[in-house]
Amino acid sequence: MSAIPADPNVTAVSATPRTETNYLNADWSIKSWLLTGDHKRIGILYLVTVSFFFFLGSIAAGLIRYELTAPAGFILESETYNKVFSAHGIIMVFLFLIVAIPAILGNFLLPLMIGARDMAFPRLNLLSWYLFMIGGACIMGGMINGGVDSGWTFYVPYSSMYANSNVTMVLTGIFIAGFSSITTGINFIVTTHKMRAPGMTWFRLPLMVWALYATGVVIILGTPVVAVTLLCIIFERVFHLPIFSAELGGDPVLFQHLFWFYSHPAVYIMILPAFGVQSELIANFARKRVFGYHLIAFSSLAIAGLGFLVWGHHMFISSESMYQGVVFSLISFLVAIPSAIKVFNWTATLYKGNIRLQTPMIYALGFIGLFTIGGLTGLFLGCLGTDVHLTNTYFIVAHFHYVMVGGAVTAFLGGLHYWWPKMTGRLYPESIAKWNAVLVFIGFNLTFFPQFIVGFMGMPRRYHYYYFAPEFQPYHIMSTLGSTVLALSFIIPGLYLTRSLTKGAKASANPWGAHGLEWETSSPPPTSNFLQIPVVLDEVYDFDPVTEHEQDKAAQALEVPSYLSNEAKSIESEKEKR
């Protein structure tokens, strides 16, 4: 077996020569992109399409927010409003959140992090992108063709009998997109098990890989259930096969059981990879070994496991048996344990670290706070008594946005900035990105914190007016204001990241001084990832914050921070070339 005999953590950073041929410029033809088996290119394909869907979903979100600035609404009719919030939910859940971190960052990073040449099944990986595109096209087709008004949950009997909108087409799209997710999950699992570089034992894996593995397990076990459940609605609408029809003796609550059996674990599909990104960011920017590596790794698996035991907490008021409700409430509280383990361990990692407040770190610190609020308010909702009051209000909307946007989207943005030099070979403008990260935090809190209050006061979700309670208006206006700020802070990275593709300074192989196999190959990596398959001799987070802090101090005296030295060097070499 060909391998580098020396310790790669010491030598390979500087030893890897900058190759002129990388995965981006290996072949410029469109065909080479559309028929690629390269996991990095597939990650980029996902990035482009998912960003597009995120844009569409955000427009729907904006429409919802502007409608609610007035107690009686002022831009949407009630039916349109139903279609808009359904579109927002469906696009954001099925076409953005479930796909974003696993399929973009996960696809790009998993083989790089474990030292493999590619995913185990590159063609399956490409198939997953095509399935995603077909599914996305079906969903978009259904929405353009009149929309769907049943919400993203598709509760029967409304979706199966009464909805006159394009439920069938959109469900077909979700069904197909589900298979895209399954193929990605299979790839993650097999790649993690079988493709690790020599010496890359399970406990030397970066925590991102653990998180992606746990995500893969959840995808594999959950997605087929929702696929067949939604298929039953399609059967009911198209072939008249009565499966959940209440009028014939079928049970609509069974649909909710089966739907949430997947859709609760699905929120872990969204947040687990975000935990992985978070662990990487915190370790690198605190320049310190992650505190409690084993606990973070196993808490990912614990969340994946417990995630399958709590679906009933979405159904406390859906005529579920109270005995099962009690059990689900208890297990829902248990989920707090592995989540808290992670949060405490990240915080402990910061202690006595050599913290560098760069853009990804700002996102990561924001994540800790926002996810904690999102998680703790989840306890209110997991409690049987308070849930009766809070369910179906804006409190629940705020709760899951704190977890999904404050957690998953923040981590996605942080991870995107962190790995942007690796993905594109270019540096993004640091100062504007830093301010933008702060703007995301402000805009986000301004949008969703008022929703906790207004929800607690009784504002129901999915209502397009609240003329019965005009005192809610200030909160809604605050929320809309925040969403405008948030929208701005999503547009700005889109602009400067796109600009950096051509104008950005060229990145060195390891602009952050980070540890991990993905930083030991050039930026962007060659098509086969590594010129030689690396041999791993040490764990990934072997930082030395004390020495680095002293070096930083010495460098500050010279007015060149050491962590910028790589960046500065590459800029200088650029100037010299010109």
């Binding site: 041929t21 290996a26 995913m119 097999v190 499966i243 003796g249 049970d251 060659p526 098509t527």
Partner: protein
């Protein structure tokens, strides 16, 4: 590209079936087997949800399901089960022949499997046709020949037949997909493609899929055709 391509040329010289991302055949074979099993786990969950729905409704409406199921032809179901069990055996044999690189053996065994699958589908077709003729397909015309309901409540019988057509239909779809995949595999063997002749794994994966189809039917048959009297 040349510099990159040259460095992972190891092992390619003698193994045409080895893909570029793997080090050796053992890693590749292991990966494919594990990948197939993960896929089969998703299939288990896929059908599992339907079995769950069926279990709930049958426990709720035992008598009506029992009365409604009487119209099914147990003989045909039995024949179909025998056919599928036999085809499972032939597929297992074809994997064995693939391991021994016995091309004609594989082709013969897969051919018999195709015939079995075809027989299964034809029998299924006649069963479906009979049910349609008796107005037992759920929908507006359901139960317009009440004698075939055996006294079951038309509503609950409709639930039963909804599940019957849904589950056996999805199973039939899997059989059809299996036939297409086996046909593709046979074409590969017929053309002596190194993808299958140098490596028994593709045959093994198709075999696993086919056994899974058999597995679903093993549960479907007693649940749908052989209900005990409540």
């Amino acid at each position: 590209m040349a510099a990159i391509a040259s460095d992972h040329g190891h092992g390619h010289g003698h193994d045409e079936a080895l893909h570029h991302q793997f080090e050796d055949m053992e890693q590749q074979n292991d990966s494919y087997i594990v990948g197939m099993w993960t896929f089969l786990v998703t299939e288990v969950m896929f059908f599992g949800a339907l079995f769950l729905i069926y279990t709930l409704y049958r426990s709720m409406y035992q008598l009506d399901f029992y009365l409604a199921h009487k119209v099914l032809d147990t003989r045909m179901g039995m024949i179909n089960t025998f056919v599928l069990l036999f085809s499972s055996f032939t597929v297992a044999m074809s994997v064995r022949f693939a391991q021994l690189q016995n091309r004609m053996g594989v082709l013969a065994m897969l051919g018999i499997t195709q015939i079995c699958a075809g027989t299964f589908m034809v029998i299924k077709y006649f069963e479906y046709q009979e049910k349609f003729g008796h107005h037992l397909y759920p929908g507006p015309g359901f139960g317009s020949s009440p004698s075939y309901l055996n006294g079951a409540s038309p509503n609950f019988a409709q639930l039963y037949f909804g599940l019957y057509f849904g589950m056996t239909g999805l199973h039939g779809l899997h059989v059809l997909i299996g036939m297409i995949v086996i046909g593709y595999l046979m074409a590969k063997w017929w053309r002596n493609s190194p993808m299958v002749t140098k490596d028994y794994i593709p045959t093994e994966l198709v075999g696993l899929y086919w056994h899974f189809v058999d597995l679903v039917w093993i549960f479907l048959f007693p649940l749908m055709y052989l209900m005990p009297k409540p």
